[in-house]
């Protein structure tokens, strides 16, 4: 199995979720993260003093898929997350040595 991790714009998270659900992948885990990249941050001014906020809010989506689904899922996530503008994010995939469903203790692809 593979773990796909996608860092995406917060306002694309719903699209990604829906695209995955449409493809039959009904489980995923989402984390609020802060991204730093080519995209610039913003400045806030408090009583004349400027605070530079370098990080932008991003959503991290972790989804475990069967090996066979890796490429299709990657394409699908990228397509759903894309706006074409800087800051769209990154996606990466790792190989998993094991997966289990806590409720039943099932292992491997059966656990997905």
């Amino acid at each position: 199995m593979k773990l796909i991790t996608a860092i995406v714009q917060p306002h694309r998270a719903d699209e990604v979720k829906e695209a995955l659900a449409a493809a039959g992948i009904a489980g995923l885990t989402v984390t609020e993260v802060q991204g730093y990249g080519a995209q610039k941050g913003h400045a806030e001014v408090y009583r004349g003093a400027e605070y530079q906020v370098d990080f932008r809010p991003k959503i991290r989506i972790d989804v475990v898929v069967a090996d066979a689904d890796l490429d299709a899922t990657l394409d699908l996530v990228i397509a759903a997350a894309r706006t074409g503008r800087i800051g769209d994010g990154k996606v990466w995939a790792t190989d998993l040595v094991e997966v289990a469903r806590v409720r039943t203790g099932e292992r491997g692809e059966a656990a997905l």
Binding site: E44, V45, Y46, R47, G48, A49, E50, Y51
Partner: protein
């Protein structure tokens, strides 16, 4: 109408009382999450410490028989004994006045606390506040409100505490911040602007009690200053936000809130001396100048974090000067502003009063802070500062999301 005076003063008391949590929330919201509670406790604790001081000897120092114009007799009202005789028919009486004065004194100390945010040992703050109220506020109070030399010899105008309350606390904050030294991390934003607004809510309502309560009753003066206090707060917003808009490109919530307070500070010494247009001009000026003054600390290299110096010190000075400049002869104070052909002598008296107040507060606070720093150490350890004062001083955290 003495009974009606009582009715209004009781209400004024209730709303002035809420200025303490108001100030605590105003400052606490501006502090970082890890220092918010400590900030609030420093403010709120002044009610406890100053109450004790006042009952024991404070009220005597302010309004007791003057000893050479310098201080009142400290033992004059020891324990508030023998002040409880019912005058028979309702009128504003001693027990009330004594309670009301405690609020004035304590709020002054609470403003100074803002300078200490994020780095002062809580125990050191308690000691400092006891000493500061005794050596700075009480004598100043005697000079301005009691039978002290300023009141006797200077023909200056200060309606409700521009000098002893606002300038004293502003300068005190500057000196304390200077002695404490900057925080290790000065890059902090207000952790909750809604909390800042809650504070402003309580402060503005309280200020009506403060200014119209200074009128001493349900009279014309109280109504007059209600109008000027409303208008100066309103245009204080405009003054501050305009500067922000021009300088930084955007008006901000913190700016709007700060502008309200700047306008209110400005009108405090002047509320009985300007008319509606004057109050609006004063608010505008106070808001704008304070917005500018907030940037000075960076140049001075003093981490006077929450800008009590700019808001209360400079704001108070601007207000005092405005009444001299465009005081309205038909107002209760009857001061004819210089711009309207008034006498220049009042300017000199006003400058003398400002100079004396600011100079005394600045020097005295510096000395107190330096001495206490030697004796007990004012600053928390770097470790404590890094962990945040809430955790290190109070073993608490402001929020728990779980």
């Amino acid at each position: 109408m003495p009974a009606a005076d009582v009715a209004w003063m009781l209400a004024a008391f209730a709303v002035v009382l809420i200025m303490f949590p108001g100030l605590s929330l105003f400052y606490g919201g501006m502090a970082g999450t890890k220092n918010a509670l400590n900030m609030m406790m420093m403010c709120m604790s002044t009610l406890a410490t100053v109450s004790v001081v006042y009952v024991l000897f404070g009220h005597g120092i302010v309004v007791g028989d003057s000893i050479g114009g310098i201080i009142g007799n400290p033992s004059g009202f020891w324990g508030f004994l023998g002040i409880y005789e019912d005058p028979g028919e309702p009128m504003v009486s001693d027990p009330f006045w004594f309670a009301f004065y405690i609020l004035f004194a304590a709020i002054t100390v609470a403003i100074v606390a803002s300078a200490a945010v994020g780095r002062m040992k809580f125990s050191a703050w308690l000691v400092f506040s006891l000493v500061w109220v005794t050596l700075v506020y009480l004598p100043l109070g005697h000079w301005v409100f009691g039978g002290g030399w300023m009141r006797e010899h200077l023909d200056f105008h200060d309606y409700a505490g521009g000098t002893a309350v606002h300038m004293a606390s502003g300068m005190g904050a500057l000196a304390l911040a200077f002695v404490l030294g900057p925080r290790r991390n000065t890059q902090m934003r207000p952790h909750s602007l809604p909390l800042v607004l809650v504070g402003v809510a309580m402060l503005w309502m309280g200020w009506i009690g403060f200014n119209a309560g200074t009128a001493g009753g349900a009279n014309f003066l109280a109504q007059y200053v209600t109008l000027t206090t409303l208008l100066a707060g309103s245009t204080g917003m405009i003054g501050f936000c305009l500067v922000e808009r021009l300088r930084d490109g955007r008006a901000t919530t913190l700016g709007m809130c700060s502008g309200v307070i700047a306008g209110l500070v400005g009108i405090t010494p002047a509320a009985d001396g300007v008319d509606a247009l004057g109050a609006m001009a004063l608010g505008l000026a106070a808001g704008a100048v304070v917005a500018w003054a907030c940037t000075w600390k960076t140049k001075l290299g003093i981490d006077e974090t929450l800008d009590a110096f700019a808001v209360h010190g400079i704001g108070g000075i601007v207000g005092s000067l405005c009444v001299v400049l465009f005081g309205y002869a038909g107002s209760p104070a009857g001061i004819e502003g210089i711009l309207f052909g008034g006498d220049w002598s009042i300017l000199l008296a006003e400058i003398a009063a400002i100079g004396a107040t600011c100079g005394y507060a600045l020097v005295m606070t510096f000395v107190i802070a330096k001495v206490l720093d030697k004796l007990i150490g004012l600053r928390a350890s770097d470790e404590d500062e890094y962990d945040g004062m809430d955790l290190s001083q109070h073993a608490e955290t402001a929020y728990d999301a779980a």
